[in-house]
Each structure stands twice: as C-alpha cells, then as structure tokens.
Amino acid sequence: MRALVAAAVGLAAALALVLTVTAIGPPEGSTSPKPLLTSAPVHP
C-alpha cells in the first residue's frame, strides 16, 4: 500500500511539473526596434 502511495506521489509530481512548465511556456518577447536593413552590415 505504501509503495502504491509512493508511486502515486512520484507520478503526480511529474505531471504537476510538466503541466506547470508547459502552461507558463517560453516568454513572448516584443517586436525588435531594429529596422529592416537596406545595406549590408559589416559584421553579422
């Protein structure tokens, strides 16, 4: 019985971690203020 409880705790923790991380997701950021270029930059 205790082994089952331990396994359930492990499974729940994995689910909680993955669901939280995917719900937060990567940051969206904002549009770059840099312009669309009309001349070749010297360096990348």
Binding site: M1, R2, A3, A6, A7, V9, G10, L11, A13, A14, L15, L17, V18, V21, T22, G25, P26, E28, G29, S30, T31, S32, K34, P35, L36, L37, T38, S39, A40, P41, H43, P44
Partner: protein
C-alpha cells in the same frame, strides 16, 4: 529506515520514469516553437554577376551584387492573429533588398509570412503578402519545421508567388554538422516586376515598353535536421526582360549570378544553430532518455533495498509494515533455547 529510503527512491523513480514520455510527447510539442520576436539578418552575394542597366536597357557585368535579407518577428500582429484564430503563430515581416556594387538599390521586395509557431504550416491571416500583393502560401519558407524529415517539402517561392516541391537530396556534412541538403529548381516562369526599381523606373514603364519579366532559379539549402534552420543557402538565379510583341529581339538579362551566403554570416548562423539545437535535443532526447535511465536505475535500487529489508525484519522479529504478518522468532533465539541456553 531502509524501508523509508526504498519508498522515497520508488517515488523518485516513478517521477523520473513518468517525466520521460511526458517531456517528449507532451512538453516538447508545446514548448518547441519559433520565437515570435525573432530578428535575423542574412547577407548573400553574387560575384561577377550580370545586371541590367535600365538607362541603356543592356546587361553589364558587375563585380558584386548584394542581397540583404531581414526577418523581423511582429509580436503585436502575432498576438492579434492568435486571438482571431486560436493558434500560436509567428508573423515575420521580411525585406529582401538587392544592391549593386556601388550600394545603390536594384530592387526591394517586402513580405509578410504568417505561420504556425510549432509546426511551420502557413496560417492564412494577418495580411500575408509579397511586395504588397496578397498571397496564400501552402508551403514552408525560410525555415523547415523542427525535426526535419528525409522527404520532399513544399517550398514557397516569393518571385513566382507559388509553392513547389523542394527535394531532399541526402545528408551532408557542413562545418561539423550533419545536415540535410535540399534542392529546388524553378523553371522559366513569368513573374511580376518588383514594385520598387532603380532610377525611377516603374513596372508600368517597363510594361509600356513591351517588356515582361521571366525568372528561373536553382535553390539549394543545407538544413539542420534538429532545428529546421538552414545553415547555408545558395541560388543560381537568372532573370530576363522579354519583349512581348517583338519576338525577333533578344531578351535582356536583368540579373544572372550565383548567390551565396557571405562567409561571416555562414559562421554566425552555424554558431546560432549549434546552440539552439542543444535546447531541442534536451527536450527530445537527452532529458527523456536520461530521466528514463535514471528512473529505471532508482527503481532497481528501491527494489534491492526492499528485498534486503524484508528478511532482516523477519529475522529480527520486527513488525512488517505490510498489514502485520505473523511474527516469527529469529532462528538464533530458537537455536539458543533448544541448546538449553548459554551464559
């Protein structure tokens, strides 16, 4: 104590074992996406190219033609399209600016490319266009999806404004990376004039002269199979101005050249892709396999500890934590009693 340790180990083992498939099949498809705020530039050059001189309407050879490509993620527009469609999208506003050896503009073609951030499929919203003309893409452009497959894809051509297959031609080694090589040939096709041309020339002027623009290209891409990002690109590109009502007149070569990515841009692209591919590999391979392996090892250790704890409890007469089995006397005690005891 050993019993508690084995239970903790079992919980951690199940946690890690469950994490492996969850990361690969639940987290990865949701977390791996093209960032909405991307800003990238690429400089491509064609050495000893042929270019039309619009003043004389004659082709001339020039030492170098430069193409500057900028991709800029429009986050506000992506947010708007997501609200409308419910899909996680990326909106790229791009500009392909072509200059001659003196740095003067030859043509400039802006584009808007709207696509699914995860799977790269085009999304028909948000005003996608090429040079101000609305288009409806049905293929990829600029980038392949994550985890590229060894097959042909449909690739959108901004000049013809149509999609056609781009063929997988095998795996190559490029600057230490194993990449997939793709090739597409666009046959001679009549295409629209760019809306912005040099010397005040307009598409209408050229049409009045009785000219139309034809184009062919052989496009080559070396693509990182993990991120789907091209690490190198080349084009053998030809454009002609053909006379519509004077078939006896020779077409004028508007542009002909072998366009290659500038070496420093190849280096920086390879460095960027190498760092990005680690993040994708972390989610698709390293973390899932690592946690599965570690989970298996910990489960084995938990079983081992449990197996060692059981006979010890039985022989020492401790009560088992499994519902209370009948207590047994340790054989040592029983043996001592049968021998009549010892001092």
């Amino acid at each position: 104590m050993r019993r508690r340790a084995s239970l903790v180990l079992l919980a951690v083992a199940v946690f890690l074992a469950a994490l492996a498939p969850l990361l690969r099949w639940y987290a990865y498809p949701r977390l791996a996406k093209v960032p909405a705020d991307t800003y990238r530039t690429a400089v491509l050059e064609a050495k000893d190219a042929t270019l039309v001189d619009y003043a004389r309407m004659e082709p001339r050879t020039v030492p170098k033609v430069t193409l500057v490509q900028t991709l800029k993620g429009n986050v506000e527009e992506a947010r708007k399209v997501r609200r409308e469609t419910g899909r996680d999208v990326v909106v790229w506003d791009t500009l392909t600016h072509m200059t001659g050896p003196d740095g003067a503009m030859i043509s400039r073609i802006p584009e808007r490319y709207v696509f699914d951030a995860h799977g790269q499929q085009p999304v028909h919203a948000g005003g996608e266009h090429v040079d101000g003309t609305p288009v409806r893409r049905d293929g990829i452009e600029y980038k392949w999806p994550f985890l590229v497959e060894k097959r042909d894809y449909r690739y959108f051509d901004m000049q013809t404004r149509a999609s056609a297959p781009i063929h997988y031609r095998g795996t190559r080694s490029f600057r230490g990376l194993d990449v997939y090589y793709f090739e597409q040939t666009v046959p001679w096709t009549r295409v629209p004039f760019p809306k912005t041309l040099p010397l005040g020339v307009t598409p209408e002027t050229l049409r009045q002269l009785g000219l139309e623009r034809w184009y062919t290209t052989r496009r080559m891409f070396w693509v990182d199979p993990v991120t789907g990002a091209p690490v190198n690109g080349e084009e053998i590109h030809r454009e002609e101005l053909r006379w519509t009502d004077r078939p006896e007149k020779q077409p004028v070569t508007a542009f002909a050249g072998h366009v290659k990515m500038r070496a420093d841009y190849v280096d920086s692209t390879v460095a960027l892709v190498t760092s990005q591919r680690r993040l994708v590999l972390l989610l698709t391979s390293w973390l899932p396999w690592g946690s599965a392996g570690l989970g298996g090892a910990l489960a084995a250790l938990a079983l081992f500890l449990e197996a060692r704890a059981r006979p010890r409890r039985a022989f020492t007469g401790q009560k088992a934590h499994d519902g209370g089995k009948t207590e047994r006397q340790a054989p040592g005690k029983r043996a001592a009693r049968s021998r009549g005891g010892s001092p």
